[in-house]
Amino acid sequence: MKAITPAMKPELKKPASRFWAKFRQQKYLYMMAVPFVLWAFVFSYLPLWGWMMAFQKYKPGKSFFEQKWVGLQYFRELFQDEQFFNALRNTLAMSLMGLLAGFIIPILFAILLNEVRLQVLKRFVQTVSYLPHFVSWVVAAGIITKMLSTDNGAVNDLLLSLHIISEPVQFMAKGNLFWGIVTASDVWKETGWNTIIYLAAISGIGPELYEAARVDGASRLQQVRNITLPGIRATIVILLIISIGHLISIGFEKQFLLGNNLVRDYSQTLDLYALNYGLGMGRFSFGTAINIFNSVVSVILLFTANGIFKKITKESII
């Protein structure tokens, strides 16, 4: 930035005309951007008005001015509820586990795939690995519960026949396994798909670098460490920061579909909590309060992550 500023100085004399000149020159680009700016405004900024609900005792059907203001009452209720902290813990734990697994495994997988010499095999493995991405969670949850079932479940049958366990394990009934099951199913479902973007980044690395390394006698591992990984570093950082932004809004599909009453202490996420104790009971204000909390934490996490990366890598996406 600093390097460019002096060069721009003379142009700053008539900023308005410069701007309009540029605008005329790029008018198609601006026009193409208009729909998306509108879209973002309508769907991401207009709804923020609804945040007011969290500070009112909101009753549907009444106009905004007829609502009763209650200040921070709903936030107080929220922070006094044990279940909320439980839900927060589950959300953060599962999203951190998901983040780590969903971040490291696709990169490793992409590198491994990249090293496969036989093109046919590579394509085949890649296609098979991303197929589960197109299966909806409802179906995936059904498959997972059936696989882990004690009644002719494949996993139990396998473990039994290998004499690792002596009687079937109730995987889905053990709370301490739940986070792991969710993370593992997420990895199974999404790894292949997430690999695509890394594979694309890898294919963007010039082959002459590898050729030069080979001439210098670098082993394949050394090539991976010194060429492939640095080559996709930017992609990795951007994807990581974006996924940190989504850390707290992991949704509830997986937990809702895979969970049951026995593992509720481990499966209730913030979104599920908002659904059960907010919207489901017609407590719109309370639900909104949870949501505001969600957004605030997300923003803090995002800026922290970005700050840390800026320090380490001197790169920033914001």
Binding site: Y28, M31, M32, V34, P35, L38, W39, K57, K59, P60, G61, K62, Q83, G142, T145, K146, S149, T150, D151, N152, P168, Q170, M172, A173, N260, N261, L262, R264, D265, L275, N276, Y277, L279, G280, M281, G282, R283, F284
Partner: protein, 583 residues
Amino acid sequence: MTRKTAKPYVALMVLTLLLSVLAGCGGGNNNSKNTAGNTGTEAANSTNAAATAEATEAAEDLSPLTLSFFAEDPNPNWNNMKDEVSTVLTEKTGVTLDAEFAVGDPQQKIALIAAGGEYPDIISAKADIGKLVDAGAVIDLTELIDKYAPNIKRVLGDNLARAKYTNEDQSIYAIPTWAAVNEKKFVAGGGFELQHRVLKEAGYPEIKTVQDYENVIKAYLEKHPTDENGNKNIGVSLNADDWHMYISVTNPAVATTGGSDDGEYFIDQETHEAIYHFRRPEEKEYFRWLNHMNDIGLLDKESFVQKYDQYKAKVATGRVLGLIDQDWDYNDAQQALKTAGKFDQTYGHYPVTLTSEYKETSFWPTGFMGGYGISISTTNPDPVRTIKFLDYLASDEGQILNNWGIEGKHYVVENGKRVVPAEVQDRINNDNTAFTKETGIGFYWNMMVHYGDGAKDSTGNYYTKNFPEQLVLGYSDVEKETLAAYNATTWKDLFPKEEEFAEKAYGAAWNIALPGEDEVSILGNKMRDITWKRIPQAILAKPAEFDKIWDDYMADLEKAGVKKMEEGYTKYVQDRVELWSAK
């Protein structure tokens, strides 16, 4: 060169994008105009209502009218009014319904409807009516019923008082269409279920207590541990997915220990004080028995893990010997067994209690329950025609149309008696889904004010098809054989009769609608979460640990404020007793 050709494309693209945005906005405008129009007509209607009253009396308005309708209960067979009964209905009233049924959690859908402000014209919101009343989404029907609904008035009679909302607000927001008038139940769909083959093998012993129930299952399982394909037979499977937990796990605890079904509460019949029913010591013993069943391997290990569809699939294999459920909850699976011809693997109902000192309470009479009903929204374009439509359904003609179908087609009158022809009955028994879809018989049961089973019309025929002679026609030969072994003609014969109980003064507590923001509702949700976690834990624990888990469970409830909730709920019950006893 490239610039020249690129330009038109760019312009075209920009234009398309802009147009799509404009189209989006345009749609929005239209909508708002429409709603404005609706509210306009509604206002006009209410002012004209009185004036046109006599006019419409003279010439019934049968011009086509489409009303939107939302129901909390799903109707998978709904055929968009293309079925035979609905066609007649449209002919008689001019009304076509554009129906939507709740998918997933109906409470949330009602909450959305209340918040969204676009109300369906007719809403059946069951226990969630409070949300709509709070939002001002439904109208008071007292006057409409009085002026335009002679049939509804006639059928309900004094019971109309039980439709009032609360002591403070005595409006009628929902016409009670769930509760049946003059009902004498004939169908026993609850209790504990056993496959017919299990009893045949055991020589039809008496099944009265959980011990009897356990013994026959145990004996059968010892002899036949697997089915013909080598898959394990299962003793008892519970259905614990989400709200099915109430039906299959927690309500039976009340029914087997002599309590009447009042939802999550046990209500003292004298003082009308409510306690959270799990806190009764008797019920601890019931759950101890389930724990014991699990310990000896008779309880399906997956009971608390499986989803509803997995449960149904399991039952449909015929491997599950016993159920603790309601027939409507496992009926799909049983139909599959029937279609496959495995009649000895379908289920009968038995009045099982914890010990012989208790009476099974399935038939504890509630009187007319009021409660759940059908409402007309404030945005309904024509409340008068709507109420007339509902009134037609409540007429003898309408009720018989819904319950029996069309004369000469689905039933015939022989010697003054309504009879279902053999070939129609055959389809009802063996091809039920397709038959229901085609005919639409029964679709309007919960839309109309109706007489219950056992009530007779002026010709001396029953209003519904559920009377002993007709019921027996729906039984399979195996079912009849089992019943004969117990000297009974219907399952109900096995259960304690209505006359053995004193009628409840408040109907049933489970259909008292609480406002969502009320502390009792919030506490209720918390208790439910604790219960749904602790009960499975207690059942699946080693018997030695059962007492400790149960004590922890009770302590959790106390800590979460169960006493406060009970006090709050007691107030609601007592209020209802007061509201209903004041005529």
